[in-house]
Symmetry: C2
Subunit: 248 residues, 2 copies
DNA sequence: CACAGCAGTTGCACACCATGCAACGGAAGG
DNA sequence: CCTTCCGTTGCATGGTGTGCAACTGCTGTG
């Protein structure tokens, strides 16, 4: 689109801040966005006005501000699956002791929209807003498998082609749950189940994750029954919800 | 400012979505922002491109999208007090059974940046990104009281003037904790303690909240000791953190 | 102490593009 | 079928965002 260049550039600036580099100087922003130094400076100033970025006088670095957290609060409050899942997550965490996450699909990634930390001393940590590739995580593959089964374009959602992925997704669709053993994060194992919406489409999943040495295959199989039941309960609650406010 | 009008307008559009009205039509956005219908339409289209808003084809309404959640994930990851508080929150929740929240000040409001649900069947719910006025909540008053004691401009932060607030803040500063009994939300009681940063300035607080009938004054006083200790521990951890952040 | 190097901001002129208007197409309701 | 309201889209124009380059302020160095 040739419309609203400056707005797109501003969003590009916002996206220049990552978990790996949460605080940047003007020139760093300019480098990462391929924008002129002066443009970056002016856009950052404008974003600062709006409270979307902060400016640390000490280090001279900019970072994302409270404004985006506020907006996210509104966004999270109206995600249906989140509301439907909340009541079930605690029970799941209590029953298994592991971390529970609910993710939704966005393009080729899964984004955490709700999570409940496990009760054990060592546990997998997650946080709201965290992004993971669909193709290499349990939750992501649970979603992809459902897409495959429904004839949706799962390849586009997978992004890069992974050899043998189609077969694995078929097996996941048959089993109803997806396992992951240190595929995405070293030392972390997970099992996930898809959450269909009213129409049967799937762009959300619920996952249990924990340390790979403790949360091994037998444990995960044991937890799978409870997990699938919870996913089903969430889907039912989701179906009972009134406004069809989701999807795009 | 006469600079970057369209960017400010776009942010205005984003802020038109609230917890009370999370999904709006084009004309509703135009009304709430005093923008032309066509302008609102085009800005929403641009924001849709960037994934900051979603569009429900069914209802024709726009709402905030995953993009803002992504950005918030990055923003939350680099809020120091959040990182410092996380390890202490669970212990606090376990010891008291009530909901633990960490908030930071933004203007005249307190924004929840971390929370740990209580362990009881009935409990107070909070969520990340939730906003509350400083002047009428325990956590907010804990912050205001510290500002008062330090000679900061607490009146500006309080917003509307509340009769007798100065005296109450003085008492809170003396006690070290702030109590709240259904002042902001009916049926909810809370107790909060301020979290000073390295320089002694306070713009964060940790709060315990629960149902007013159970979490009564004696219970809150009982929990206050643990709460203050936790706040102190968080502040210590915060002080140990590196002021600057390295870049790659 | 001077100088070089770098980061960030700002004046300026021009091209670009965001805006308001009005007209159009479409859906919903009478 | 007509009316009404909503959302989108050509179009002309005035506003404004942008690149360039000069300037300031800071840091480290010989």
């Amino acid at each position: 689109m040739a419309t609203h260049q400056s707005l797109h550039r501003a969003v590009t600036v916002l996206r220049a801040f990552t978990e790996a580099e949460p605080a940047l100087t003007v020139t760093e922003v300019a480098d990462r966005t391929n924008l002129h130094k002066s443009t970056a400076s002016r856009l950052l100033a404008a974003l600062l006005d709006d409270g979307l970025v902060r400016h640390d006088r000490g280090t001279g670095r900019y970072s994302l501000g409270m404004g985006v957290v506020e907006l996210a609060g509104v966004a999270l409050g109206q995600i249906d699956v989140r509301g439907a899942a909340m009541p079930h997550m605690e029970a799941l965490a209590a029953a298994t002791g592991e971390t529970v996450s609910v993710v939704v699909r966005r393009g080729t990634e899964a984004i955490t929209v709700a999570h409940q930390p496990g009760t054990r001393a060592t546990r997998h940590v997650a946080w709201i807003g965290r992004r993971m590739p669909l193709r290499s995580t349990a939750a992501g593959r649970a979603i992809l498998a459902s897409m495959l089964r429904r004839g949706d374009d799962w390849r586009a959602a997978a992004g890069t082609d992974v050899p043998g992925l189609a077969e694995r997704l078929g097996a996941i669709a048959d089993a109803g749950v997806a396992h992951e053993d240190e595929a995405f994060e070293a030392g972390v194992a997970a099992v996930a189940a898809p959450i269909p919406d009213r129409t049967g489409a799937v762009d959300a999943a619920v996952a249990l994750s924990g340390p790979a040495d403790r949360f091994d295959r037998p444990r995960r199989d044991e937890a799978a029954t409870t997990l699938v039941a919870a996913a089903s309960a969430i889907a039912t609650d989701l179906g009972l919800r009134e406004p069809a406010r989701d999807v795009a």
